[in-house]
């Protein structure tokens, strides 16, 4: 990878998610600080990112459920290059395993002031940003004292 950290961006704001019918409920719920994910009506498995069909049974009937927004850091990295327009480096990307289901991983940014001290295994809570000028609320993670089961 190159280290063109100081190169000018083409755009000054974060790439805007463009939803489809499979993903729109996630972004709509996000505006109310609600983490809503699809659970297969047949298999009871929750998915992220929201898939068009359940990869297990190939059914397309999902129940959108609200999650606790709690999880633990399964993987993390602090990125020192300006890779995301609108996000100043360094920033910390985390892979969060949500408490509701083993292996249910959501990739987001860690925003707590103490993110530099965070480590794999630490508990976090997901929150959503205030909607930006284009009406998008992005998930982000904040380190917390403990995970509620």
């Amino acid at each position: 990878m190159a280290s063109d950290a100081n190169h000018a961006h083409n755009f000054g704001h974060r790439p805007r998610p463009v939803a489809t019918d499979s993903t729109r409920p996630f972004w709509t719920a996000a505006l109310a600080n609600d983490l809503s994910l699809p659970r297969c009506a047949k298999c009871d498995v929750i998915y992220y990112p929201p898939p068009p069909r359940c990869p297990r049974c190939l059914g397309d009937r999902f129940d959108w459920i609200s999650l606790s927004r709690r999880g633990r850091i399964a993987g993390m990295t602090t990125v020192h290059l300006a890779t995301i327009p609108g996000v100043e480096p360094p920033f910390t990307m985390v892979e969060i395993e949500l408490v509701e289901q083993k292996g249910l991983i959501l990739t987001t940014l860690l925003t707590s002031e103490k993110s530099a001290q965070a480590s794999v295994g630490d508990p976090v809570i997901l929150e959503f940003t205030e909607p930006d000028p284009r009406g998008v609320a992005y998930p982000q993670a904040r380190a917390t004292a403990e995970v509620q089961p």
């Binding site: 990878m1 190159a2 280290s3 063109d4 190169h7 000018a8 961006h9 083409n10 755009f11 704001h13 974060r14 790439p15 805007r16 998610p17 463009v18 939803a19 489809t20 993903t23 992220y48 990112p49 399964a74 993987g75 993390m76 990295t77 602090t78 990125v79 020192h80 290059l81 300006a82 890779t83 995301i84 327009p85 996000v87 360094p90 920033f91 990307m93 985390v94 892979e95 990739t107 987001t108 940014l109 480590s119 794999v120 295994g121 992005y138």
Partner: protein
């Protein structure tokens, strides 16, 4: 693909390889570099361009800032074939996001089905001026990217760095163990005239002082983007031209979801493998595949490197051309080139005393393919 299921006339052989120069920036464009490699490979195979009747490419530029321009940062079959003056193609395909190993698998299928007799494969990489190589150059994020791009998961190796941090956390390995991979690559690159890091050893202090890219991966844990191309020519034993050098044979292939089948598919055991060329776009990847292919216990791949087993005189010499970390970011075609040269006894100063069976893996933990190249069918 085991020999028991294949008549010897159908054995797929690599009869030519060629490379352009590899540099960190180039005023010669990707189109010129691809032609350099293709012309060299056809000549090495003892063929004329009119003999080429098959083509496989994998043109995709893989960096977040790619503009995907034909002749800019990618080169397509259509453009390259026309500019090579090839007019007798019976088969040509670009594996859009495929790897060099996938190119081989496609070419072998075309040969075995007798679609064509001589397949040219070309892979070219290019670092464009005036773009931010690792910055997502898009205003919107569509499809699966809407859950990845706004969070930086697709650039600067972030998703691999995140895996690396988790690996260090659970395995007890440290950045010094990642350094061991980088230092090994640099040692092996000494013998590769094409390598951008040839004769550029890196000390532990230099490694630790280098700028962080995506923790725990620093600048030297990431392969350096380059401008360059490499090419190969394949045929079957039945159509072997009069070449003055030995060919290398394709013994078997496998996909990443069932990677351990590579041994049965190649009609070889793990103990038969003399060396391997493993994709090392990021240093940690070496540990993952050492473990996954059963040379090490889970989370113990770092010890294998630390204990010297991957050195030229070790149990399993690794990336004997320096890998991507030593040669530059050729996205796996360098790994394939080295396996062809080792298996055919043509690796020059790098030639291992025993290289009858070379394993090649190109790709990531979640998308990859594998080959065994051999001195005999």
């Amino acid at each position: 693909m085991a020999t028991s299921r294949t008549s010897s006339n159908d054995a797929v052989a690599f009869i030519g390889v060629g490379s352009s120069a590899i540099t960190r920036a180039s005023d010669r464009g990707i189109h010129a570099l691809a032609l350099d490699a293709a012309i060299a490979a056809i000549a090495d195979a003892g063929l004329e361009r009119d003999d080429i009747d098959g083509y496989v490419g994998a043109p995709g530029a893989t960096n977040a800032g790619a503009v995907h321009s034909d002749g800019g940062d990618e080169i397509t079959a259509r453009t390259l074939v026309e500019s090579l003056g090839i007019t007798k193609l019976a088969f040509s395909v670009d594996a859009h996001k495929g790897f060099a190993t996938d190119m081989v698998i496609l070419g072998a299928q075309a040969l075995r089905s007798k679609s064509c007799k001589y397949v040219l494969g070309v892979r070219a990489l290019y670092r464009l001026p005036d773009i931010a190589y690792a910055t997502v150059a898009a205003e919107n994020a569509y499809g699966i990217d809407q859950f990845r791009v706004p969070f930086g998961a697709t650039a600067a190796g972030a998703r691999f760095a995140s895996r690396a941090q988790a690996y260090l956390h659970r395995s007890g390995a440290t950045r010094r163990d990642l350094y061991n991979v980088v230092a090994l690559a640099r040692r092996h690159a000494r013998l590769n005239p094409l390598a951008i890091w040839r004769d550029r050893d890196v000390s532990l202090d230099d490694y630790l002082a280098a700028p962080m890219v995506a923790s725990p991966l620093g600048r030297f844990d990431c392969d350096m983007p380059v401008c360059g191309a490499a090419a190969f020519v394949m045929t079957t034993a039945r159509n072997m031209p009069a070449i003055t050098h030995a060919p290398a044979y394709l013994a078997g292939t496998a996909g990443w979801q069932r990677p351990l089948e590579i041994f049965d598919n190649a009609n070889r055991t793990r103990a038969d493998i003399d060396c391997w060329q493993i994709y090392d776009g990021f240093s940690l990847m070496i540990f993952e595949w050492l473990e996954r292919l059963g040379w090490c216990e889970a989370d113990a791949g770092w010890k294998f490197i630390k204990d010297g087993h991957a050195e030229r005189d070790g149990r399993l010499p690794l990336n004997t051309f320096g890998g991507s970390l030593g040669e530059g970011r050729m996205h796996g075609i360098g790994h394939l080139r080295e396996a062809i040269l080792q298996a055919s006894g043509r690796a020059g100063a790098r030639q291992l005393p025993k290289a009858s069976n070379c394993l090649v893996q190109v790709g990531t933990f979640d998308f990859s393919s594998l080959l065994v190249l051999s001195a005999t069918p």
